[in-house]
């Protein structure tokens, strides 16, 4: 029996109808054999039109619908739900994108846009003719989530999921959880310290039965998909047992011969290869820095709780969803960038924060008391096409906040802010107002001639053509230059590459849609939280982390999940197992199987994403993608090449 189709052509307010003559499109298709009814509508997605569609389907007993509107990225689900409400199997609805592909693309050619639209709608009708009812695959969902990264975002997500009675595995690469926040002293905008914040989050977590924390651990491989991911986690030993207390550790630290710059203080102080028990370092268990340790054995001799012979361990875990919270790296300036690494009075903002935290009564750096401080903003951010073009969002406020702390904590501090337009958005503005009141000076360079740092006879100067004083050249002699370094994506991309997570133009991990699906990724079941998605302050990281936790929870809370039946089918007779398809598959969904004793390709339908990469490489044409079969595509091509 031929299909009974309803066709809806959307004005999209004027987004489509300003350039496409939608009525003409309707007329062009209304007499098509299986088109029973056709309508134009202001907003196909509006509630009132959806109601009308449901009625049409029921009253006219339609067996398929075509919606010609915006991208299916936006509305595929909307119209699938319309079909379902009308008791029409949702795979009988076919979408034509006439906005992005016609009206917006050809806004300079109304006639051409209209003609193209007619063809696009005809092609959709050709596809709808062949559409079949399908049932989604149902799979079990394990009520457990792996949280990767134990910074503030990861910790909050773990607490929130555990609150919702979900099993949580928290995987932190470093020996201690807390991420960057653990490294900060007082933070804007509440003046809570990083130590207070992380201590409280850790205390909430350790007591929970449904949370397992793996420190010094990384995910090294994974298989499976939403509902059941299998993760292999490799844990590097701490070499020190829990029984080693602070006193014993001190003895071991005294004998350890290896001294390295301490990454916890961004290298402004040193530590031994064996260390631990610092404030905000949790768990309270010492560790040995595997990369720095020479295995000389000196520490083993003074402590019975150290065992250098321990080996890496591997565990395998199953979870229903994965939440990525791997955070950011502070930008590291190039050698010579504003004097960095060449002039010893030049440090970065993270280093400056540690310096003011670690100093009492006097601010001293490299033996010199600091009075005049220059802050150079946007280092590593807003670099235009050549570098990181984005704004790092946190740094204006953090700098002003730190400068205020410095001024209040130490005597005779003078702050000079060499900025590019201060971005203390929202309530953070009051910090800027306070700093102006305290007498901080703000100098703004033009975009094409940035501030310059130079030194003469051991004295350091910063020079700028200040646009706030009619581009007068201003020079300030300072004791310390603080480079306001931005946020960059983690340099270690192993996990994001492992999960094949897409990245945006800024190279941070990318969400599907900033407003509609801000914490979901292109890989079903994997969410992103905190600064791995884009620069954020703590509150913003927490909001995104809790949103991701809610999303992860809704994936798995029902114990069962539906996945798309749009997967490939393999014709066992035609298949000769040449292996081309499994090589082409980006999701490892195709493996070798047997048909009797003949080797053939077999598809794991829960892993297959229906991307279609395998279909064109098959030399015997043994693969067809459900809903995009060769027959359907050929029919569409015929319709598209028809003369109007």
């Amino acid at each position: 029996m031929d299909k009974r189709l309803g066709v809806y052509i959307c004005h999209c307010g004027g987004n489509i109808s300003d350039y496409v003559d939608v009525e003409k499109v309707r007329e062009a298709i209304e007499n098509d054999g299986c088109v029973l009814m056709s309508k134009t509508t202001q907003f196909a997605c509006s509630d009132s039109n959806q109601k009308e569609m449901v009625l049409d389907i029921q009253e006219q007993n339609l067996s398929g619908i075509v919606v010609a509107s915006c991208s299916p990225k936006l509305h595929l689900n909307t119209f699938r739900q319309v079909s379902e409400r009308a008791d029409l199997n949702k795979y009988n609805y076919v979408h034509a994108n006439i906005r992005e592909q016609a009206s917006w693309a050809h806004s300079d050619d109304k006639k051409g846009a209209t003609e193209k639209t007619i063809l696009l709608v005809k092609a959709a009708i050709a596809k709808a003719r062949l559409a079949e009812s399908l049932t989604p695959n149902k799979i079990m969902a394990i009520n457990a989530v792996a949280v990767i990264g134990g910074g503030v975002a990861g910790l909050k997500a773990a607490i929130s999921l555990s609150d919702k009675n979900t099993q949580v595995v928290l995987i932190e690469r470093e020996p201690f959880i807390g991420g960057r926040v653990g490294q900060w002293g007082e933070m804007f905008t509440t003046n809570q310290t990083g130590n207070e914040l992380i201590s409280s989050l850790y205390a909430q977590l350790v007591t929970r039965k449904n949370v397992q924390i793996y420190t010094n651990s990384e995910v090294v491989s994974y298989s499976g998909s939403i509902g059941d991911f299998s993760l292999k986690i490799e844990t590097t030993p701490r070499y020190i047992s829990q029984d080693c207390d602070a006193k014993e550790l001190q003895k071991a630290m005294d004998v350890c011969p290896v001294v390295v710059p301490d990454p916890f203080t961004f290298g402004i102080t040193n530590r031994k290869a064996i260390y631990g028990f610092a404030a905000s370092q949790y768990p309270k268990q010492a560790t040995i820095d595997d990369a720095a340790c020479t295995h000389c054995g000196a520490c083993e001799k003074v402590s019975k709780n150290i065992d250098l012979s321990l080996q890496k361990e591997m565990v395998e875990l199953h979870v229903g969803s994965v939440l990525m919270a791997t955070g950011f790296d502070p930008y590291t300036p190039e050698n010579g960038e504003f004097g960095y690494a060449e002039n010893e009075s030049v440090i970065t903002l993270p280093q400056f924060k540690k310096l003011i935290d670690n100093s009492e009564s006097k601010l001293i750096y490299k033996g010199k008391e600091i009075k005049n401080i220059a802050y150079i903003y946007c280092v590593g951010s807003r670099q235009g096409d050549e570098g990181n073009s984005y704004c790092s969002r946190y740094c204006c406020t953090s700098t002003i906040h730190s400068a205020i702390i410095a001024k209040k904590k130490f005597k005779n501090i003078h702050n000079f802010h060499f900025n590019r337009g201060i971005r203390t958005y929202g309530k953070q503005e009051v910090l800027y107002a306070e700093s102006l009141k305290l007498g901080d000076l703000y100098l703004q360079a033009t975009d094409d001639s940035p501030a310059e740092v130079y030194s003469e006879n051991g004295r350091t100067w910063v020079k700028v053509n200040d646009i706030l004083t009619e581009s007068k050249e201003m020079q300030v002699e300072v004791d310390l230059v603080v480079l306001v370094t931005g946020m960059v994506p983690r340099s270690d991309k192993k996990v994001s590459t492992l999960f094949k997570l897409p990245k945006g133009r800024d190279r941070f991990l990318n969400e599907i849609h900033m407003k509609l699906r801000p914490v979901e990724t292109a890989i079903d079941g994997i969410t992103i939280a905190g600064t791995c998605q884009s620069p954020k302050n703590v509150a913003e990281s927490v909001n995104s982390s809790l949103s991701a936790a809610t999303k992860a929870f809704s994936y798995i809370s029902k114990g069962e999940l539906e996945t798309e039946p749009i997967v490939v089918e393999i014709d066992a007779v035609k298949c000769t197992w040449c292996n081309e398809c499994s090589t082409a598959c980006p999701f490892d969904a195709i493996t070798q199987g047997l048909d009797g004793d003949r080797k053939i390709a077999v598809v794991n339908t829960t892993v297959c994403k229906g991307c279609g990469m395998c279909t064109p490489v098959c030399p015997t044409d043994a693969i067809d993608l459900v809903t995009f079969s060769s027959k359907e595509i050929m029919n569409m091509i015929d319709a598209l090449t028809e003369q109007i």
């Binding site: 987004n15 959806q50 689900n77 919702k164 958005y425 503005e429 509150a539 982390s545």
Partner: protein, 431 residues
Amino acid sequence: MSSTKNSVSYDALVVGAGIAGGEAALNLAVNGFKVLLVEKDLSVGGNMIKLSKVFPTLDCSACITTPKVSEISRHPNITIFTGSEASNIRRVADNHFVANITRQPRYVRVEDCTACQLCEKACPVSVRDQYQFGLIGRKAAYIPFSIASPKAAAIDIENCTLCGACERACPTNCIDFTQEVEHLEMQFKTVILATGFEMFDANRIPRYGFGKYKNVLTSLQMEREIAPTRPFNTILRPSDGKVPDKIAYVLCVGSRDASVGNPICSQICCMYSIKQSQLLMGALPMADVTIYYINIRAFGKGFEDFYQQAKGMGVNFVKGKVGSISETENGNLMLRYEDINEGIVKEEEHDMVILSVGVLPNEGTTSLFSEEQLMLDPYRFVHQTDGLANPSHTSIDGVFVAGTATGPMDIPDAILSAGSASSEAISYLLK
């Protein structure tokens, strides 16, 4: 479809059905919790549903709001009361709040209305349309706006003369003047506040001439002029219907200004002005657009590129504080401003001026509660008692806050904040 419609007990009360409240309600609903969503306006969607396109991706706002709105409206676990307000919310036991809900009569039976607009045609009373920010008029019997949800007529009883014309015109007899205010008392286990923001009233700065000079508009009015469902189908200036060709934006109107009692930055005005200027350049290729700013705050994901894109398109950015605006004989406007780069006061003529007005708290959130006190911050937004680790916690246990009720923010941030509040509410419900 749902038995909840008659129930007087819900898991959660969500106050305010803007994008934040809607998102929070949906998060709860998909996880199996029953929600009452109370909205004082005639439609859900809040401010977002009235916008044109949204930065930084330039999605058409209607196109991304309507699917959300229809998902919310149709979810079996969500009951929506529009034209309604909550009050006297009080705790009677742990995990147990009682609230009074007041439903104002719409004088139209929504179930029966087909939005045929015959009542609009019949009604003889014209007033200014608040949904188009006064740019055009509407009738006293009216459908709020084309993508309103529910899409049904309402009678503006204050302006209605009770002539009965709409009743006679209505083909489904859904107009009902006997409807009365309904008072209900309902029970909840948790509450989410998503009461959103209000715009700064431009009349409060007389030197900019809003209300006096016809061609001085606010940014929200401009949103309507450039929206796909725009009232005039083109951009024109109100005094004489001329298509403008030299448009100015004045930023920080009512923000970062202690003299009007609002010292904070409104966080969205730079970006929406940049957005509008790009849309204007697209719609009126010959027009010049100038943005008078103090600092451009393009801080979010994709914002700086969006700002650079506007510069590339030829939008003129002038670092300058506008002192005053006066009108010339032909309805043009003379801006007196301090050019910060050159340090001198200058004048420039424009034929249309948009005031990028700031974001203020929605007054009235404190009076929602009796017995326990909802604390506000110094700017009268809902106070976040643990601003870093728990941004959606308020001074009342079990009451969470989402979106711009806590302070200015853009749509992506409002949605993440709603995700955060609903996460806390779900945890609270599962305790």
